[in-house]
């Protein structure tokens, strides 16, 4: 029996609202739709494990702290020395492909897609909005595209992922999504907030 997926921010009726607070909004907020994602645990010192991942997925797991690698519909974000978030960018679940590739190697794959909400923050003042709430140095090289960082936004744990095209993806636990969304909308008020479509 399958049940309809319930998006964490569905109650805000963002698609129906679709409004902008001004024509030249400084920041745009978008609630990304569900994307399959897993948390992968494995031994970063185990060459066979790393090779199995590369053979199955077509790219290397990022071993340097807070780096991101991606290839052909999948992105791996460094979360810890033995922990990665493997995110599908095509909507196709990677769980099966990953599990097949890593068979025989010590690892754990934990489904995380429904555990998180991704909020995209973009626009010319996106960094100013995040700076109000997050202690990270957003202007430094550590948060250029290709990097990521787990940190806090106000009182919530987040994963911050700067995007190559500008803006940020904020991954937040689904039960915190409403709080974080409202915080961002409030922090952006002085710059003008636009609510975007699915991002």
């Amino acid at each position: 029996m399958s049940r309809a997926r319930h998006e964490p921010l569905a109650h805000l009726a963002l698609a129906a609202a679709g409004e902008t607070t001004g024509p030249d909004a400084g920041v745009t907020l978008q609630a990304a739709p569900y994307q399959p994602a897993v948390i992968l645990r494995g031994e970063s010192g185990n060459a066979a494990f790393l090779e199995a991942f590369r053979a199955g997925m077509g790219f290397d797991l990022p071993l340097a702290a807070n780096h991101v690698n991606s290839h052909a519909g999948a992105t791996a974000l460094w979360l810890g020395p033995s922990e990665w978030l493997v995110q599908s960018t095509t909507g196709q679940a990677e769980h099966g492909r990953l599990a097949a590739a890593l068979t025989g190697h010590r690892h754990a794959i934990i489904d995380h897609g429904d555990g998180q909400q991704i909020i995209r923050v973009s626009g010319p003042r996106a960094r100013d909005v995040l700076s109000k709430l997050c202690p990270l140095d957003l202007e430094g090289p550590d948060l250029a595209p290709g990097r990521c960082a787990r940190s806090i936004l106000a009182r919530c744990s987040i994963l911050l992922h700067p995007l190559p095209g500008g803006g940020y993806h904020i991954h937040v636990g689904r039960s915190f999504a409403d709080y974080v969304w409202r915080l961002l909308a409030d922090a952006g008020l002085e710059f003008g907030v636009a609510i975007g479509g699915a991002g």
Binding site: A65, G80, P81, E83, P135, R150, S151, I152
Partner: protein, 93 residues
């Protein structure tokens, strides 16, 4: 506000961390052979150092890893941070 150096993530704000108290406390290998006083020492007694304090911190909102920090309890200066299992680093006088 302290700026702590996570051995993996580098300098991060104290907000991201949780302090785990004094470090390098070894759990007795055979607890049932300890008398109450020795067990009480292990569980409760801490050095409460005025000066350089070796303590455990966890990058709770970051990479989630435990590590050790040498901190002056007088000046709040962070003198060193190092991974669990590493030897205590040489500290400047």
């Amino acid at each position: 506000m302290l700026l702590l150096q996570c051995p993996w993530c580098g300098d991060r704000s104290e907000e991201e961390f949780a302090c785990g108290g004094e470090g390098d406390i070894v759990r007795p290998l055979v607890p049932e052979e300890l008398d109450d006083r020795a067990w009480g020492d292990y569980v409760f007694m801490r050095r409460n150092e005025k000066g350089i304090h070796f303590e455990r911190w966890r990058h709770a909102h970051g990479c989630g890893r435990w590590f050790n920090v040498a901190r002056s309890t007088v000046t709040h200066e962070i003198l060193a941070s190092y991974q669990v299992g590493d030897d205590r680093p040489e500290l400047p006088e």
